[in-house]
Symmetry: D2
């Protein structure tokens, strides 16, 4: 799908810290922080995640993440609106327009989350579809639901009024000034075990609706794992798709991501970004119960960031930005590493086994060459690599080559074209070959 | 589960002819016919099948079997009521009581269908549960739906108010005089491919609610295929469970039933009846579009009835009784065959391959012995059996034995204990060994 | 299948202690011990397990359990013979006859293990089938192998000479005096994931071959898990079938057995014994590397024995009998508990959840009633049961009833028909209600 | 994997006509025909398919395709040799060297088939591995077999001697002058349903062995379907891999190939060729029973050839070349269509539904543009396409564009950028846009 830039989107998302509860004020604070401290390193999207239309979101958190049959803000055409008690500037039907303007004013871009489909309540109330003679109950599919969120019914594939409904919603978003849409329960509709791609037609409807707006809007699909056999379809109709179920700050999930990146490594291209999900860094989880620090060690955080960058994944911060400690902030300002997400850099897994992985990365124009050693063990491990055997380095010469480690800055000599290094537990070294 | 008799239920069900549309007058006509022509052969249940609470059932038949977000009759406690436009005697909150009285007056028993769970509309409207401080939205599980019917949400396993809801519904049914409940979307909740027994707790709730009424009510579970690994659970909490998805009048489905009966043959006991589903005979399908005759040939109809009887399945007629032709009616009056459904008769598959099956049946008290030869081929086939090798006939003597065929009445001699017969295509011969 | 007694077989098996290495002398020592200390408690079978035909069994144990292309003893008809270096009395073609005679002389019964099929070596050498004009290569199926043992090829279903091969083998076993055959890779041919019952025809061939011998030989099928949908087939053609993969002395496997017994509880009948596998008690594992004591705690051992007995499983000791300590021996002499394996005692699971299970057992003739409380937790747990709600105790009176615990002998009063007890971690109390 | 050219291999394979029975004389005749009539159109490989080492191949064809425990030609190191009775020039240990020389002399290339692994007979006979102290029984894995061919055991992953065995075999092939190896039972080891990529290590061993020879040898892997999640592994270690099980001349299989090409369309690159399998044209099947003509209609043959070319599949003729009719021969000489297999032409599926598919193809250098309309229906169908919506044609101008159909040569005008054509049943039109 058409796309506006030559690298995967970089930004912030409210979910990992706020769950369903983020407010306008909190969004603005994060945006202001990004504009000041992160924009110059390439970070630009501010994304409000799930259930911004819920007035009571989070009020029964010990019982439900998403309150069934809860109190939602919806217009007379079944279109969800920001909950005014949480987003005061949306009062009087202004939607997210004022907030988007604020964010644009900071030189940033604005994104929102949506669930695929139409609100169940709209269907049960037989609400009209804007600009049509059809009603919600005629386009809602009562057997198409989300496994984990009770808000919506899927939209029928062939029902008159269905495309118009999506047009009415996405048109409204474009009018608000939305630059990024994260649509959920659509990349893998996981209730339907035998048909996880049951919403393929809704992806196509979204694509059409976005094209009709004429606005550059990034389309991001969740949740994963995306289906490898639909790679061609994601690439045609979307910009990002989640290759994993929700990623959180646990080593087992991080380790698992290496296998996912192996599978999807050939699918990263301009406008096509397999998505490793948010980066759970700094403070997390307030909306889920209690605020806590990320469980990832510093080494694991560098491992994560290196993998995401070499692979070329979108980078979305799952942190409360205003509470970032200095060390974490410094990670996010490492532009010599972050630049690897650019499509000009071509990252590939060289080898992977139970103990370690090696990735290489080459810029075909500048001939820059990178090599990353990842240690999966719980102890320090020596890893080495004969550069002449690296597929991407074929026919390159390494006479007198040296290696500069990018996280720590130290230099290493190569011995007969072989690079050897001590890698800390769960850690990484990322070398530029010079 | 406790049960009132020593044989599987025999009766009539409105579905195969009327789909969702049957009316009070039509039910009465079928009941009157049964009382006159079939009661003396053991038929006794009159069952009103699905969506008797729907006012608009059948009005959009080319588009939907079950109209989503349709027009239903429901009391202030979220309990579905007979649609008064279809069941006039139910006016003024009388429910099915008057109809049940009419049927009891004919010396017959009265059954109704129900979907597991609570009406979606009750949940979205937050209706109260009778006799509790809880509301429908608190016990409804928005992620538990039926794959093929849009009316209900399943009930949560541990929600306070859930058992009380079922008590309120089943208590009302008992008060109406209901003798038989066919509960649907519960035996195999087939949307949930990885957890088809997701409503196990609702089976237990129904059982408890029935026990509380003190009334003898048969509990029948649909749809199939039932799960063999839950045989022990069905036996404990229900009386009948469908071992097949909807059975219709097609040879492939009938042939398939032999494999299902093989699987379940050891599970037929007093009060425990694996259910081969309705017998699609005579006129069918009016509610599905156009009335038509059964597609089963006469031979296939005898094959079906013989298998159901030897296996010990419930026998539920899926026909418009008032339109039965004489030949079909005569089948249903063959008491010397129908009696084999009695638990005293112990039926077992002797052999089965791609061409034929042989079943044996023995009454341990009377020593009556039966043998049925089924021909699966499309041509006449000779089948024979050495009675000394029949497991159930072990240690019995067949000196001078003869065989009397029960459908046609002819007698055959055995040759050295071997019974041989010519069986028509898709047909059966059922022998009493004398 | 026909069977000689009214209870599941009880005996000893060489595998858990000796793996593939047991010798004649060791078998005799175990048999002598059984005759002296266990026979009077009902134990009677002595079974020599896998690869008694291997001369080099166990010599490369760190690399292989079963040496591929190893050194086997085989006659000119492709029939495996006892390895003379391990079973000296088998010299000169006498096979297991002398050993069987010794065991019979002690008043015990003799069993051996076999792999289904024909030795691969016989097929590659084109050996003749006894009494036929066919050769091993004509009946061996080169695509039917065992996942875990390299010795045999399965036998083709329809090949002339196939039944004759099995007749020649089983006839030889009968001549030797074998009373019990444990046939392996046949109950669940687990290499064939989509067709684990691929050797159904070999079960039938074995059955026919045994019937032809006229000798009472128990047919036991391994490994499990047996397929519930083939229950009717096991019951027809075998006496025992393993409902589990190899059982060992680990709590997780023991806990798992409760789920397996739930599934199979309705299938225990005279001559039909779902098999929970050997009892790993006392000293174990010498042949697997190093001798060690069972990992099961004393409480777990009582739990195991109680479950096996109430369920009605065969009881096969997986211990070196001559090294049994006194406590373990005393378990195996508890005749008031062991008697529950008799078919007259009808055991059923009453309830089971994550914390505990309750089983009941009734003797329909003597009216004896038993109740067992199993504690799955890692701490002491109080369990109680209202006897009036136990399905098997229906319509029995418990006025003034008492309970006698059978492992420890203590007596407990019931309170209003309710039995309550403190059950140790992973332990059991087994009550007789009096 | 390294590769010698910029297009997928084109040639002839003996299987579709000869099954296991082809002889030296027949191979030569086909080679001579190719040199004369097809070489100038790009066809160059002559491949001898399965069981060239079998002396009795085909002699029990009604019973077996591959005779188990049959009569094979093998050297003292367990390396299979051409059966001298079929390939006389291989006498005296010369192997395929003389035949390869003959084929090279015609200006063509020579390929042979192999089964992965080591002959079972070598393992059972404990034959030595050339140049090592190890024997076949030490590297053969008795639990790794082929589902459909009885000749070999797989080779163990970590056994010393295993790589040396493959080196000894492939080294011998290189010495013979082999240019192309089709290795079977390796791309999808389909017996192992839960692990169809069980021979991944044997692919890597083959790759290493080929690299060691220093010879340009194409490595082709069979059978399919290849595993999409291993695409990166095939690309790294092989040149071709079958994306389908055996393809034959049936419409359902051809239709199915469209779905397979959809899946693999992004994976065709220089040296990396997903393989649609042989083209069953002209006379077929003599070795399978009786010679017959292809079942594909002329339209279907053009559909097949167009799809294979636009997709970029290897093209291997499955025909007896010497019996080709003129029409079929003319298909194989259509160089303006065959040239599309060149990597410079970039083919993509534009759309596909149940009725039709549209593929586009672009040469980025020459700007040539192609569009193919495929009709899946059994009747003539009008298909049209707006060229401005074709993804690959984006930003190209179609002012005054015309279309030339390449099979029949006719020209068509476009109407406002829309190309419309009548496509015959199961047929294709392939347009060059000019």
């Amino acid at each position: 799908m058409k796309y506006i830039s030559k690298k995967a989107p970089m930004g912030w998302n409210s979910y990992d810290y706020y769950d369903t509860t983020v407010t306008e004020e909190e969004v603005k604070a994060n945006a202001a922080f990004m504009a000041t401290h992160l924009k110059q390193s390439g970070w630009e999207y501010i994304v409000v995640d799930i259930e911004w239309y819920s007035r009571d979101a989070g009020t029964k958190r010990e019982q439900y993440q998403y309150i069934p049959f809860g109190d939602i803000e919806m217009d007379e055409y079944g279109r969800l609106q920001p909950a005014v008690n949480r987003f005061p500037s949306s009062a009087d039907g202004k939607g997210f327009k004022p907030l988007a303007e604020y964010i644009h004013g900071l030189g940033l871009k604005f994104g929102i989350h949506m669930m695929r489909g139409i609100p169940r309540e709209a269907a049960h109330r037989h609400l009209p579809i804007l600009g049509t003679m059809y009603c919600a109950n005629e386009i809602a599919d009562p057997s198409s639901i989300c496994k984990w969120n009770p808000d919506m019914y899927g939209v029928r594939k062939t029902a008159p009024g269905a495309q118009e409904y999506y047009d009415s919603v996405i048109g409204m978003y474009a009018e608000w000034g939305v630059d990024f849409i994260k649509c959920d329960d659509i990349c893998n509709t996981n209730l339907y075990v035998e048909n996880p791609y049951s919403a393929a037609h809704e992806i196509e409807m979204l694509h059409k609706a976005i094209e009709k707006t004429g606005r550059d809007i990034v389309l991001s699909l969740s949740p994963g794992p995306a289906l490898l056999e639909k790679a061609w379809h994601y690439e045609k109709y979307a910009n990002m798709w989640r290759i994993t179920d929700d990623f959180w700050d646990r080593w087992d999930l991080l380790l698992d991501m290496f296998q996912r990146c192996e599978l999807w490594q050939n699918h990263v291209e301009e406008g096509s970004y397999p998505d490793c999900d948010m980066l759970p860094l700094g403070k997390l989880h307030k909306g889920f119960g209690e605020e806590r620090d990320t469980y990832l060690t510093k080494e694991e955080q560098k491992t994560m960031l290196t993998l995401w960058c070499m692979f070329g994944s979108p980078l979305m911060l799952g942190a409360e930005l205003t509470k970032l400690d200095e060390w974490t902030l410094s990670l996010l300002q490492k532009t010599e590493i972050l630049k690897l997400v650019d499509n000009a850099y071509h990252g590939r897994q060289e080898t992977r086994d139970e103990c370690c992985a090696i990735w290489s990365c080459v810029n075909a124009d500048t001939k820059e060459k990178y090599l990353a050693f990842f240690n999966f063990n719980q102890e320090l491990q020596e890893i080495s690599c004969d550069l002449s055997e690296v597929e991407q380095f074929r026919e390159m010469s390494f006479h007198n080559a040296k290696a500069e480690e990018l996280w720590e800055g130290e230099q290493t000599e190569l011995t007969e074209g072989i690079l050897t290094a001590q890698i800390p537990a769960h850690g990484v070294k990322l070398f530029r070959i010079i």
